[in-house]
Symmetry: C2
Subunit: 524 residues, 2 copies
């Protein structure tokens, strides 16, 4: 079933340079050959997307929802082939990928439900006031509509949930934007299978071909060509900071600049407040290592920085974490490149004069395996060397010992923008947290207590975003229903005849969506 | 009462280079001298804004609303001095400025009312599900919060409604962002009076000094320093395209890039559909000239382009417009620079080989007066020379004669992004408009029928924004309640103890704001 094809709309094509997937756990290349998409295919896919836009963006919510639900069904119908291939291409365990598949189809279904509720249209109506003095008011009606075709970059670390049919694709399609995916070269077979499922759903729902195209390939030029294409109106990306920044540069240099919603990097500070540390240092150390090593440390929300007050309780935490780390088995990383990069990051910490090695896994592991590692330093050392705040993608973390809560606050103020900030507290830490919370809020998109950042619930309230450089646009989220807002824009209609208005703005409200009339909610 | 001061928070300061306002209608400079803000003042104002942020952004909605209402009252309390000074500095008629003052205080009061409704907080709650299988769900609560201090650039063409206390300032303050205004040098006395009113309101409401600062000055360096300041988190701007693009470059080159919401340029196409033109060419010509010459053509929504099918009806429209133009008196423009620029734009059209002069005002007018002028060309000429699509800021417009509705559609597809698109139609034009409407919607933020674009109602449904380059961010509006969204970001709280949550997220909902719980609207 895996052919190595490029999908330009409904056209399954074989041309261009060839590349192969690799099993990172063994280092072996996997058949078959995959075709890298060409510049011509980029241009045709984007043109098809543009042609599909008027029909797709104007669909009634239940019709677009049905497409999303069909896409979810088709992904499930891929069956075990998808799990086996994604396991082979990612080195991640089967149970994780089964869970990730559930999350992926769950996202599609969540957006289908969200579409049907209709609030995403943001309908606001100010009826005409012909007798207003001194000037009459026109009839003004506004609703949000899709921005246009969207380019989505599949991420390496979630080959299903943040890739071909991941959150960016799901929210873009939900908004009514045709999507052109640049497939990640680390999981080309997985990508093709999912792309095939989406293609099947497009055809089954009778939608225009250009609603979805899939352009796999290993080159940066492919991605740059996609972001440069004049038909593309927005970009969704999850990946490295250099990658995100490069796409931002391409997007802002276009004759018509477009927004890039890039989720790029985060070290996700964890604050162990004094009461919590005193009460449960041992348990915290063990649980922390569980979060740190999850998925070989390759979560965007991996806890890469721990802040605590120096002292006996912190020593206990470190001892507990070191012990847990010693028994944590090294696990394969997603690619040889990521593994090399992790090795470089750890070597930098090992060599840093102000950094102490706290512990590491007793084993070094096999091919492309990351050896979990923990380090510590003082707040003064951290504050005097910005390089210590750089993300080390993988299961390594740095514990920073602070002299006081004031120094901890200064540490927070010195941090870059983050996806998450975590606090462990007991009741006697509440006043300290009350002081720190406003500072944390300016740094992170999600603040959590007495848990670990490495679970990102897909729901309405979730924010998976944060101030730059955690994301390019700190006013957005890439997970949860709010993610659809990235791909919508408002349009106002003034005195347009009722029968020419988009359905949600017509007097009869044929889509039966919630509306605001002169600022107050009404369904009719 | 006008002292020429800079306001760094509550500190009224006199230093720096001096400059003066000019009465454009006479060319005379106006006393007193005004101090241009210095780099040191920029830095101090932004630091104060940052310090004010935690308190100001956390105010309960009624408290921030009371401040906006007080600001409106203080502007009204300036009395006739404000109207006299703004008339002298802008060359605009008294009635216009009285109306603009009403709009300015109306905007502040509209945001006060909008704040109290609470929907702008976008509260979403997904309660904990401790027994969910296979994994429990944490308690997740999200609300929007201010992004941080905002820099606002006063516009020349609306010395009140788009300036010191204009829509950007009102929406920024409403969101909870301290605002640092860069005052426009074309109306320094007007700016100072309004700044003084805002300062009075800040003090009267017991708010931190840094909630509002006012930095007037003529130099581009001042604006660049403001946008570069690390405390500034977003920018609001209304002005020229070169000005907006320059600020976008500064903002994106920062170590931490920030969004610029710039409203930059638009030629606001007007489509005269065949039925409408046949039925009322004469009346349309006359009414068109009324819109074209309003405020000396210095509205962002000025109709600078007219599209119609060639033929007898269009000839009648042109004759009617030419006649109305002949009697339209030249009126002073806002500054000598704007007048010079208008002269250059008109000269380019006069000299263009494919452009025909249709008519102009019989008089040339006095100092800095713009002589209204109308031109025509064919669609082929327009499509072959992109320069004909450039905005000529002032009372000049270009009528493009199309051979067919298909050619008109091609004209629309070739246009840059616009603030508005206007259509004149009769019943027999409806099928033509149904074809054109999706194309218009991709080009403009507001589409209006059988009216003129030069009235921008301040209300919920208004969109005063549009695809680039009409604005830098085509997903936003600078007029209407939706403008507040530019200055908000979502933050999610996970398992945070109830007493530490922001009030709108607490179980008891002490602010009594509308909330969504598991996707459904609830007030409790």
């Amino acid at each position: 079933m895996i052919s190595g094809s490029v999908f330009v709309g409904a056209s399954e094509e074989q041309s261009g340079d060839k590349f192969r997937g690799v099993n990172p756990a063994t280092g072996e290349t996997l058949s078959p050959d995959f075709c890298a998409a060409t510049g011509d295919q980029v241009a045709r896919a984007c043109k098809l997307a543009d042609e599909a836009f008027p029909v797709f963006s104007a669909l009634a919510p239940p019709d677009r929802a049905a497409f999303l639900e069909r896409a979810a069904d088709e992904i499930m119908a891929l069956g075990d082939e998808l799990i086996e291939r994604s396991t082979a291409e990612s080195g991640l365990p089967r149970a994780r990928l089964e869970g990730e598949r559930g999350r992926t189809v769950g996202q599609l279904r969540m957006f289908a439900a969200h579409l049907k509720k209709g609030e995403w249209l943001h309908v606001a109506i100010n009826p005409a006031m012909p007798d207003r003095d001194p000037l009459p008011r026109a009839d003004l009606r506004r609703r949000h509509v899709a921005v246009g075709p969207v380019a989505v970059f599949g991420a390496s670390n979630f080959p299903l949930a943040f890739s071909v049919a991941g959150g960016d694709t799901a929210s873009g399609l939900a908004a009514g934007c045709p999507v052109v995916v640049k497939g990640h070269p680390a999981h080309p077979g997985t990508g093709e299978l999912v792309a095939r499922a989406l293609r099947t759903a497009v055809a089954a729902c009778g939608l225009p071909d250009g609603v979805f195209s899939y352009l796999p390939g290993p080159s940066n030029e492919l991605g740059a060509a996609l972001v440069s294409d004049p038909h593309i109106r927005a970009v969704g990306f999850t990946g490295s900071r250099p990658g995100g920044l490069a796409l931002m540069r391409v997007a802002s240099a276009r004759p018509v600049p477009i927004p890039v919603f890039a989720e790029m990097s985060s070290i996700n500070p964890v604050l162990l407040l004094p009461g919590a540390l005193a009460a449960r240092a041992d348990a915290l150390g063990e649980a922390f290592v569980g979060s740190l090593t999850l998925g070989s440390g390759q979560f965007c929300t991996n806890p890469g920085l721990v802040l605590a007050l120096r002292g006996e309780a912190l020593d206990r935490f470190l001892a507990s974490a070191a012990k847990a780390l010693e028994g944590a088995p090294p696990t394969p990383m997603l690619t040889a490149g990521i593994h090399d990069s992790y090795g470089g990051g750890v070597a930098t910490l090992d060599a840093h004069k102000d950094v102490t090695a706290v512990g590491r896994s007793a084993e070094t592991g096999g091919v492309n395996c990351a050896q979990p590692a923990l380090y510590s330093c003082t707040a003064k050392a951290f504050l005097s060397d910005p390089a210590l705040g750089a993300e080390v993608f993988g299961p390594a973390s740095l514990v920073v010992a602070c002299d006081s809560l004031d120094e901890m606050a200064a540490m927070i103020e010195g941090l870059e923008g983050q996806l998450t900030a975590t606090v462990h507290l007991e009741d006697d830490d509440k006043s300290a947290l009350a002081e720190l919370l406003p500072k944390l809020e300016r740094k992170a998109g999600r603040i959590l207590a007495n848990g670990w950042p490495t679970g990102v619930e897909v729901c309405d309230a979730m924010v998976h975003g944060g101030p730059y450089p955690a994301t390019s646009d700190g006013q957005s989220t890439s997970v949860g229903t709010l993610a659809i807002e990235r791909f919508l824009r408002p349009v106002c209609f003034q005195d347009i005849p009722d029968d020419l208005l988009p359905p949600p703005l017509r007097n009869a409200n044929p889509w039966n969506v919630p509306r605001h009339v002169d600022g107050d909610p009404k369904r009719t």
